[in-house]
Amino acid sequence: MHRVTVNGVEIDDTFAEAFGMRATAIIVTAPTRKWVLEAARSMTGFATSVIGCGCEAGIDVELPPSETPDGRPGCRIMLFAVSTDELQKQLLKRVGQCVLTSPGSACFAGLDGTEPLKLGSSLRYFGDGWQISKKFGGRHYWRIPVMDGEFVCEAATGLTKKAVGGGNLLLLAGSNEQALVAAEAAAEAMGKVPGVILPFPGGVVRSGSKVGSKYKSVVASTNEAYAPTLRGRVDSALGAEINAVLEIVIDGETDTAVAAAMKAGLDTLIGLGSERGAARISAGNYGGKLGKFHYHLKELLP
């Protein structure tokens, strides 16, 4: 494979292949930042991959009190799924179990989408007849009595069909330490890009997968070409100097948000250099036939 080298870091001439997804966003607020993050982490927990979690979710951005609807600390949470039905189901389950339950929380629409997704208009039934509907300023809220006062929840949020899931960078390093340093730095930079989430733990995934397996019932299995211990045994993508590979997966509200995040990640990794971080950067694809969106690394270089 043809490669270019920038600041000692080899960049593969390849592309990340990503898919169209359905996405939504909500704004969660709470009395303090601590309880914003508790609600958000709970709601976006076990939401790393649609393969096994039903949706992919994460915190897009933390919001200061001046930028939230009710003047309290908050954050914007994004959810991604493969179908509108699944997205709706996951949204209600997660807000109902993790945000409604969290002390002092409130929940607002985070996206003006093409279509509405139900939020408070379903969760209101928790109020058992004591729920109160309020419409003002062109918005519709539900007030649901709970043990610490009221859970205020906007009736609906928006859906976008233009979201992109599965943008990615593969960081190949000489050691696990270098791989982690590179991954942490890249994830931090990429997480700052508005409109994207990195659904895996800390934004980083170490078990990159391929489609299918030798076992009939397993839909995704280890990507042996990038597993260093299988080098020499399988058709490996790794050279002799690579001993650890980590991946960063990106879901974005739009195509351009994903590209911006990948570019931010590449910039950071190149700035870090091969001595401290990744020696080589690649990206995962399926030959270009499955996903609608292709992100060529060389087009994203600084």
């Binding site: 607020t29 609807p69 309290r72 509907s133 309020k134 003002f136 009221e150």
Partner: protein, 270 residues
């Protein structure tokens, strides 16, 4: 295009029904036709041309230069556009309006915004009794939209209100929010006797505790209310009030338990 302006020549000799003079009612009409529109309610039957001097041509934006307490049914049934009066209006201003904006720079008479379902009615002065309320025999009052009274509202403001928002800056008379079905009534400047009398649902927001209250209301503590802060921020953002009505924890009564009892009176504890 300049606003279609009706300049009042002299005080009208009789009460007028101004409901024909709305943006949707005048759209496409010639000046001659407009001038022949009958407004007077007595046998005299004054026409537009007898009372006003017309200028401008944009019927989407109507201005009455000069007002009168005899201007009844001003903007009644309007659905779009804007009407502004530089003086007072009579009874039933903006009754059953469903859209657009109606601004009264003076005061309005009784039944202002009666049964309105949309749009915004802004009264810079005072309003008479039954602001937003229904006529006798009607089942419900205001059913949507925003009614702002910067001065004082008379008795029974928001009577039988079902939806929408009424904001009063200079206090209300007795029985504010009587028989409310739902909706929001925000009042700065105090209220008279028995606010929320026989309210079923809905919210009455006050900048101070009510002086008298029907015994069929029960206290329900002082709970921090996200709804109250949302409403405060909305009222300030829309330039309806210049400071928050309620901040942080608000006192709350629920009632009226003589009827359904799902209504609330939230009041500032400051």
């Amino acid at each position: 295009m300049t606003s279609l302006t009706f300049t009042l020549v002299s005080e009208p000799p009789e009460r007028l029904d101004l409901s024909p003079l709305t943006p949707q009612g005048l759209a496409g009409l010639s000046r001659r036709t407009i001038e022949q529109t009958r407004l007077g309610l007595s046998k005299r039957g004054a026409r537009v041309g007898d009372l006003f001097r017309l200028s401008g041509e944009d019927a989407e934006s109507i201005v009455f230069a000069g007002g009168s307490v005899r201007f009844d049914r001003l903007g009644a049934g309007m659905t779009e556009g804007a009407i502004r009066v530089t003086g007072d209006a009579g009874a039933q201003a903006g009754r059953k309006m469903s859209g657009g904006s109606l601004t009264i720079e003076g005061s309005a008479g009784p039944h202002a915004g009666s049964g309105m379902t949309g749009g915004r009615l802004d009264i810079h002065g005072d309003a008479g009794d039954f602001a937003g309320g229904p006529f006798t025999g009607e089942m419900r009052g205001m059913n949507g939209g925003v009614l702002v009274i910067r001065g004082r509202a008379g008795d029974q403001a928001g009577d039988r209100m079902r939806r929408g928002l009424i904001a009063v800056g200079g206090g209300c008379g007795d029985y504010a929010g009587s028989r409310m079905i739902a909706g929001t009534l925000a009042i700065a400047g105090g209220v008279g006797h028995l606010p929320g009398y026989l309210m079923r649902r809905g919210s009455i927001l006050l900048d101070r505790p009510p002086a008298t209250l029907s015994p069929s209301f029960t206290g329900s503590g002082a709970v921090e209310s996200v709804f109250a802060s949302l409403m405060d921020r909305y009222l300030i953002a829309e330039n309806i009030f210049d400071k928050p009505l309620l901040t942080g924890a608000a006192g709350r009564y629920c009632g009226d338990n003589a009827v359904l009892g799902k209504g609330e009176i939230l009041y500032s504890l400051r």
